[in-house]
Symmetry: C2
Subunit: 253 residues, 2 copies
């Protein structure tokens, strides 16, 4: 996979490296997904809510959000899309987009149409399994989000979000840094975890005063990871890590 990695620096590859190991056919199939690379500034709609034309979206650099706007102006952010995320690869199977996708920083991304997607997984069943794996991780994320929204209070939700973003960035980058860039505004955080902007501000200040996190502009740091995890109800078992490697004894290819 080395050559492809150099040709097309793509955060998804970093993630997939745990699973695939450079079969030429797989590489070719994967590179097909990378076509149609685009760039956009912050604040642009990448996929319209209710769109009939369906593409999965592959984030290379920058942050985006997947969100749904209610007619009366309320907005729910369903999840943050970070570099290496492949959002809703099964989307094209449904009639229309249930949610919009918007950039919140300058973003480099690819739209992957249904044709390309189906062709890729047909050409490489192993790649199909990889996408399945990606989708399973996204599903786990959504489930955890539901738990946070349904049964956790403001402090716990904020703590969980901070931990989740830090953890995802860490997994994607491979660097165990305690600091990370947090481009989302408090309004976005509020819309993601179902709180008001004001209460997000208060709760964040509370966590900071308790020495759990520190914010310097858009750079956030986790000062007390243990407390953060305790508040966020994150245990070993609550975060389903991917399998360490694709089980080769299964009849995949």
């Amino acid at each position: 996979m080395g050559t492809l990695d150099n040709q097309l620096p793509c955060a998804l590859l970093t993630r997939l490296q745990r699973y695939m190991d450079g079969h030429p056919a797989d590489e070719a199939a994967l590179s097909r997904l990378n076509g149609e690379r685009r760039a956009t500034p912050a604040g642009r709609r990448l996929i319209e809510q209710g769109a009939r034309e369906r593409s999965a979206i592959l984030i290379h650099e920058g942050w985006a959000i997947q969100h749904r706007n209610l007619p009366d102006g309320r907005r729910q952010i369903i999840d943050f899309l970070l570099p290496g995320d492949f959002c809703d690869p099964g989307a094209f199977m449904l009639r229309q987009a249930g949610a919009a996708v918007s950039s919140i920083t300058p973003v480099s991304y690819s739209l992957v149409g249904s044709q390309a997607l189906l062709a890729a997984v047909t050409q490489s069943p192993r790649l199909g399994v990889c996408l399945w794996w990606i989708a399973a991780q996204e599903g786990a994320l959504l489930r955890a989000h539901i738990v946070a929204l349904g049964r956790m209070n403001a402090r716990e939700r904020i703590a969980y979000l901070v931990w989740e973003l830090w953890h995802r960035l860490r997994l994607a980058s491979g660097q165990p840094s305690i600091e990370f860039r947090m481009p989302a505004s408090q309004e976005m955080i509020a819309d993601a975890i179902g709180l008001s902007v004001v209460h997000v501000s208060r709760t964040l200040s509370g966590l900071e005063q308790d020495g759990i996190i520190r914010r310097r502009g858009h750079t956030w740091r986790i000062d007390d990871l243990e407390s953060l995890c305790r508040i966020a109800q994150v245990t070993d078992r609550s975060w389903p890590e991917p399998m360490p490697r694709h089980p080769r004894h299964h009849p995949v290819a």
Copy 2:
């Protein structure tokens, strides 16, 4: 698909009939998923939270819930599993189960191990695409649930849940009945939509007094579907229907 349908009455087949059309190889692959059929009374744990052994679960008859219990006793129901649901087919790709599955009525179900699943989709790529489609629908459900929990009030959440369950049962059964059986207790409803039992009771009574729904024991009826949809913020576009039929021109098989 007719013969298989008779041999193994299975609600999933009804759903998949929109997509598959009886290639012998596909039927064989599908029947493989049906192995290991089990039955259980209400209130049993089918999959343990944090389980290392991973299987997808296929519901034939009865209702189950997918839920997560926090250490302090709080419970969040992530979704209700109805006949024909194939819960989290990608689950086995992750290290451990993030959520438990429990029956809430007597349930007939199958556990589908990773081996059987991978074998089935390898044998029939078309079946793989079908499962992708099933997973996409489940994803849409989870997203809608997030929107309800994050940005809707009690009345809206209840209305949404009633509509969703009615709609799913209707799709699964194919019968456009305005009545349906509702085996879930108010405690489960509360745990699903992030409210207290007491408030669920009050809100349901409110909807009933306004002539929108009617409850007679475990049989519920929707008296004013239009109002229900308005309250639940359900528009044409908010529910991504599946594509009417699998697009045959794509290179799947």
